[in-house]
């Protein structure tokens, strides 16, 4: 089991965010390699500014032809993998691709035909998004489940001007991104919740944009828990209360949005509201025989809105 903390496992808390915004083709990013994608390019979306950490390294999505085309290779700046420079490739096998084009959004499938997402593509259709880095997403404009030839690639480099004209949302809500733990028993902890809000009652929102992470098998479930922790010395931490207990991320084909967007209220005035000088959140992949692993390097947004 791995207990992870700090970037790139989790970003710092920020008191601002950006609206989820689709970039126009080759605006705010430079298309480097688009293979088949030149006629039906990927849409690039941003909702945060972490892409500024690397404006030189190419992001690459490589497709594999099949009855349902699959993605078995994603390349992205290594800063989002292990904090280093350069580019890192994430791969998966035939049986468990990183995503599979389909007619529904599930923990294994990626809906390009009849998406239920609220995001609209550049061709005016509902578009499911994949988060490739904190606050950076892509979606397919092609609506076929098998349009690609072997090794069709789409590659781009981000530009700082992607943020031009975007409003910074500063409404009292704090935001961070963390990588979903990939193996049962793994945990990720956030940075310390800012002192200005840590001792107030607060609402914790998980996955506000309803993005669908992908897992590596078709087994039953993947249980994630969220616990608030306290400390008096920033070194020794205790679990104060488990806010969300073993939520099972279930397919959205059943319109089960609740398991993809979770919220919990922390009431600092309640009897179980043990207070500490320092607080943080712990995200845990519950250890159980029936749990299945997620694919690595999938970032999820967490928001805290204080009372």
């Amino acid at each position: 089991m791995a207990d992870n903390s700090g970037f790139p496992y989790c970003t710092k808390w920020k008191n601002y965010r950006y609206p989820l915004t689709r970039l126009e083709y080759s605006v705010g990013h430079k298309v480097v390699d688009d293979g088949y994608f030149d006629t039906k390019p990927l849409d690039i979306w941003i909702s945060d500014d972490y892409f500024l950490m690397d404006l030189e390294t190419e992001y690459v999505v490589t497709m594999t032809a099949a009855t349902n085309d699959t993605c078995k290779s994603l390349k992205r700046p290594s800063v989002f993998i292990d904090g280093s420079s350069g580019q890192t490739e994430t791969t998966a096998g035939n049986a468990n691709p990183l995503l599979k084009l389909s007619t529904s959004d599930t923990l294994t499938n990626f809906d390009v035909v009849s998406s239920l997402a609220n995001t609209i593509s550049s061709v005016g259709k509902k578009q499911t998004l994949y988060t490739i880095a904190p606050g950076l997403h892509f979606g397919f404009t092609n609506t076929d489940i098998s349009p690609f030839a072997l090794s069709d690639r789409s590659g781009w480099v981000m530009s700082a001007d992607a943020l031009n004209g975007l409003p910074k949302i500063m409404d009292g809500t704090y935001t961070c991104w963390y990588k979903l733990p990939t193996d049962a028993g793994d945990t990720v902890v956030t940075e310390i919740i800012p002192n200005g809000i840590a001792n107030k009652s607060m609402n914790i929102m998980w996955n506000a944009n309803r993005h669908v992470p992908k897992r590596s098998t078709t087994a039953a479930n993947n249980g994630q828990s969220i616990t608030i922790q306290g400390s008096i010395d920033k070194t020794n931490w205790v679990d104060v209360v488990k806010l969300i207990d073993d939520m099972d991320m279930i397919d959205t084909v059943t319109l089960d949005v609740q398991n993809f967007m979770q919220q919990a209220q922390w009431d600092s005035n309640a009897l179980d509201g043990d207070d500490y000088p320092y607080k943080r959140l712990k995200f845990e992949f519950e250890a159980s025989a029936s749990e299945v692993d997620l694919h690595p390097h999938q970032f999820i947004q967490v928001n805290i809105t204080p009372n």
Binding site: P19, L20, N118, I169, D171, G172, T173, S201, M202, N203, M205, A208, N209, R210, V257, Q258, M261, Q262, Q263, Q265, W266, D267, N269, A270, Q301, N303, T305, N307
Partner: protein, 166 residues
Amino acid sequence: MAAEGKSTKWGRIADLSTTPVYAGFTAGMLDAGAGANIIPGGTINGQGTIGTMGHFCVFRHDGGTEADWTEPFDFPINGDFTIAINSSGEDLSASTTMDVSVQGSVDGTNYVDLHTDLIDGVVIDETVVAGVYDYDAKGRMPYMRLELTAGTVSTAENILIHVIPH
């Protein structure tokens, strides 16, 4: 009928007593969020209008049993608030029961329940039904709205909903 927004924006006129303020709003004006540009007014009696600490909207109960919702609150939530459903006590055409949940969102698009079924299966025909949202226990989010789900089918008609911050 699909789940969708079915209300006007929130208004805050005090005197709603004479001409029913909910009258005149058709399905086309309110379905699918069309009411997002409509602010309902109250009675103007020649002496000006009176504002109130409460907020109200006209909600179109469309006769279905799917979940529909109001426009998001356009006023701050800094404490508990009272919700009143069918707040003018209208005589509806059926003994409609209603579930009311308070929902929140970070982006104004994707909502989750902050308090599920705060009002749970209560008959609203000829009755004002009220519930209180516990701010300390349930919190707030950047966007908030009410979700209403009728348990029994009624005909399409409009009702008033009030939210009164404490």
